[in-house]
Subunit: 129 residues, 2 copies
DNA sequence: CTCCTAGTTGACGTTAACGTTAGCTTAGTT
DNA sequence: AACTAAGCTAACGTTAACGTCAACTAGGAG
């Protein structure tokens, strides 16, 4: 197996155009982990696994979810349910999130239509170039 | 013309399930106006026009936009451009917002797919009822 | 050895978006 | 007349999500 590439905190920050502080903050509140820190220098290092996790967090943010909501989704995503009851709970949670997301998509499409209509109003009133 | 119905602040708040304070706050930062306040009691009253405006604000919030961004969109929406230059600016702004929104819709659809896939994984592993 | 760069840990500062409380007025009961 | 409900202003409080700054350490470059 190829040695997996690891990143420093500022490399990771640059990738997503955020600050190092933001990454440390996410760790502070337990949304990101940095195991295998250099035992001497205490420097953090990140693997692709953490990079993907961070990407999920930032996607959630862009969609308007709070870090708290994102945390719940991710925890669910990475949970390993034991019994049938837990599985059912997960499915129920997923369903409710799905409805939320579908509602959001619909609203966005309506907003899109509104803006389009609005825009056309001005395009049609322009002088022919 | 029929007399237009007006609402008190708490009626309006109840309609949208928000607090009166929130409405006053929106006025404070200039996103909502309440003309025609009772000259003696200083009580605010709202017409359908303001109700629609509030609805737009709340829709924006649900979609994850900040009040500042929403303010810009509404200002644009209600602006009355004079020359061709202004119209072009409005159209350009609308286009950029449209791209933003379309991107957001795409991301949401991807998230939706992810959740669906994830959910099916658990549904298929359940015992037949 | 000196300097510079990157990183670290506190800890306090900041902004948006309201919540909460106090003290006052007015309108409508009882 | 006393009380209650709804609203008002002014002002301080709160939470999320970082920004910023100080004081320190380790690893190279020259």
């Amino acid at each position: 197996m190829a040695e997996e590439k690891v990143f420093t905190i500022s490399e990771l920050a640059a990738m997503f155009d955020i600050s190092s502080r933001t990454i440390r903050y996410y760790e502070e509140i337990g949304m990101l982990t940095s195991e295998n820190r250099d035992s001497l220098t205490k420097q953090r290092s990140y693997t692709n696994r953490e990079r993907r996790r961070l990407k999920m967090i930032l996607r959630g943010k862009k969609l308007g979810f709070s870090l708290q909501e994102i945390r719940e989704m991710i925890e669910l995503y990475e949970s390993n349910p034991e019994g049938e009851a837990e599985k059912s709970m997960i499915i129920a949670f997923a369903d409710s999130k799905l409805r939320e997301i579908e509602e959001q998509i619909m609203q966005l499409q309506m907003l899109r239509e509104d803006i389009l209509t609005y825009k056309e109003k001005y395009e049609n009133s322009r002088v022919k170039s």
